[in-house]
Symmetry: C2
Subunit: 372 residues, 2 copies
């Protein structure tokens, strides 16, 4: 491999690393990938990969060797290993001091309280009695490892609470009465330069993001500005580098509350590949490599992203023909993953001037790819 | 490697194959690459590659194995080998019957004459006397292998003619008095479905394309329509699949004459990655795989592409920071090639509403990347 001043280790071989590679090819960034297996999504498209364990410091060292900067497809690398890498001269971005807040919901909630960022009421629970005292119904969450609705319990009674606590849920949050979920994304460099993308609406189905509409339709200007400011503030306070996504509830009475955040390219930003001047993947690379950020301006009036969850279609690639016959303007992104029910195996984006038309096309194409 | 119904062999590992891979990642298309060397541009980003010789039928067979369709980074594969592959059940696209016209300028000129497509006056030369009889000054060309000004002689006197003939130039063409060069690109499927991109202006320096402006400024509507129609006609008549680029002269007296064509993604279409709904690389893949084509609509009012030729900057990747500091909106595309004077090592595109501004930004960024 030729040594390049623009090289990067990426830990984790999921679709985020795969889409980073599309941006890396243009920028001439060489990625070395630590993959979970020989055939995972990103390993299929990144020649310089090896199979390793992201909880093993020696595998992390091997990935970082020769690259200044280390970044991530997910937030599960143990922070003590990141500190070890730092002490050995490598540069994890985001750094362990930032990433810990994306790894642990109690750490995140504590920090948001400290920063005065509006959040749902929350508390740490030790017993069913604590939950009852907190107030039912509420939401119980495991502080670590939850995603896509996993590790989250809607608790209506003491029995629900006992079940969730047994499954290691210890964080209680008020049940928020929300109109919808929105997401604010910013990219940030170590120097502090940052840019915000337009705030988007994210529509969930069974706790999983199903559709994203950019920009969020009919979002009041002050709420949009507030959401972007929260994202800027969090990025600054935690010294985030690369992409930060802040997911928020827009409450029924018109307030914003932070649900969670992620310090990497995020599902709610996939529309930027086809609908923004600079994709979140390119700006993540630019941010962690401390390169000037690209404009985040939308390139279309509306973008709709539709997540393809594993369903009736076994052979996604064979279905591409049918989808494009129906909706030739669909921008298809397949992740090269084996189809399992409910698993995110791809997404597609449609852009245009007319929201209803774009939404209808995205749903038509998406359901053909998912349900046949 | 997982077998996928969307898989493709690509012959040749230059930047065109590299940019095909960016589109292939999204579509879930698996590329197997026959590369000229272990470190060539596309081999750096396509895991399933091997080093081989595109004039060796066994290497071509190895590339085609398991893939239905074979396509090309360049037009130099011997047509007899393509016929052999066809007879063995593989599907070269474009096929040998089409590709021969992009390989040999006499075959091309003969076909264009047959089709009634306006072209410079031309003839085959056997001697200096023939050239004198054809008329001086004129242009002499080698029928095969010329590119970027190589294999082309401006002939003003008998001595020039003797020199060119000694270098195997046998095709004489009238010296066209042209205002500018333009390029018309279409994508076409085996079924005949085709789409045209906007006609662009291509500005040359020393016989090498330096800048492309999309769309060609102030091009009369009837000339634009005529250029697109010529491209459609040639694609149809020759049964081209994938991308076809037709380069034309706009003469000083307002006519169009075909200069040459290429049956693959073309330098004059690189702007489509950042400036069109569907890039020429994605539409080439869609065309050769017989998938419905994507819309060719520009996504910005103006796109300017600037070719980075090897110059004073030795380490392009290190210069990316400087370029993006000056012009953060530049879309940079590096090819991972060693810098040699005059060699195409990358390009960049700037898009926007104001042509003068876009042109100035593209030149500023491009010259920083090229000349430091």
């Amino acid at each position: 491999m030729s040594s390049s001043p623009l090289s990067l280790a990426v830990i984790g071989g999921g679709q985020l690393a795969r889409m980073m590679q599309q941006a890396a090819i243009g920028l001439g960034v060489h990625i070395r990938l630590l993959a979970e297996g020989p055939d995972v999504s990103a390993a299929q498209v990144i020649p310089d990969h090896f199979v390793g364990d992201y909880t093993d410091i020696d595998d992390l060292r091997r990935a970082a060797e020769g690259s200044g900067v280390v970044t991530f497809d997910h937030e599960h690398v143990p922070p003590e290993h990141l500190r070890t890498l730092e002490s050995e001269g490598h540069v994890p971005r985001p750094g362990p001091g930032a990433l810990i807040h994306a790894q642990d919901k109690i750490t995140m909630r504590t920090k948001l309280r400290e920063l005065g960022v509006p959040s749902p009421r929350w508390s740490v629970m030790a017993s069913v009695e604590d939950v009852v005292a907190f107030g039912l119904p509420c939401v119980l969450k495991t502080p670590r490892g939850g995603y896509d609705g996993k590790g989250v319990w809607l608790v209506r009674c003491e029995a629900d609470a006992a079940e969730a606590l047994a499954a290691e849920a210890v964080l209680a949050e008020e049940l928020v009465d929300f109109r919808r979920e929105i997401s604010a994304q910013v990219a940030r460099r170590p120097s502090g330069e940052s840019v915000a993308y337009v705030v988007v609406e994210s529509r969930q189905e069974n706790g999983v993001c199903k559709e994203v509409i950019a920009p969020a339709p009919d979002l009041a200007e002050d709420l949009s500005a507030q959401a972007q400011q929260i994202a800027f503030d969090v990025a600054e306070a935690l010294d985030v580098t690369g992409m930060l996504a802040v997911e928020l509830f827009e409450t029924s009475d018109g307030r914003l509350l932070v649900n969670e955040f992620a310090m990497r390219p995020h599902n709610t930003g996939h529309w930027t590949i086809d609908g923004a001047e600079t994709s979140q993947f390119e700006n993540h690379l630019r941010g962690v490599l401390d390169l000037p950020l690209g404009p985040s301006t939308p390139s279309a009036r509306w973008s709709v992203m539709y997540n393809v969850l594993g369903g009736a279609v076994e052979e996604l690639e064979a279905q591409v023909r049918t989808v494009l016959e129906a909706v030739p303007e669909a921008h298809i992104h397949l992740y090269g993953k084996a189809v399992k029910p409910g698993r995110k195996v791809g997404h597609l984006t449609v852009t245009g001037d007319d929201l209803e038309g774009v939404l209808a096309q995205a749903r038509r194409a998406g359901s053909l790819l998912q349900d046949g």
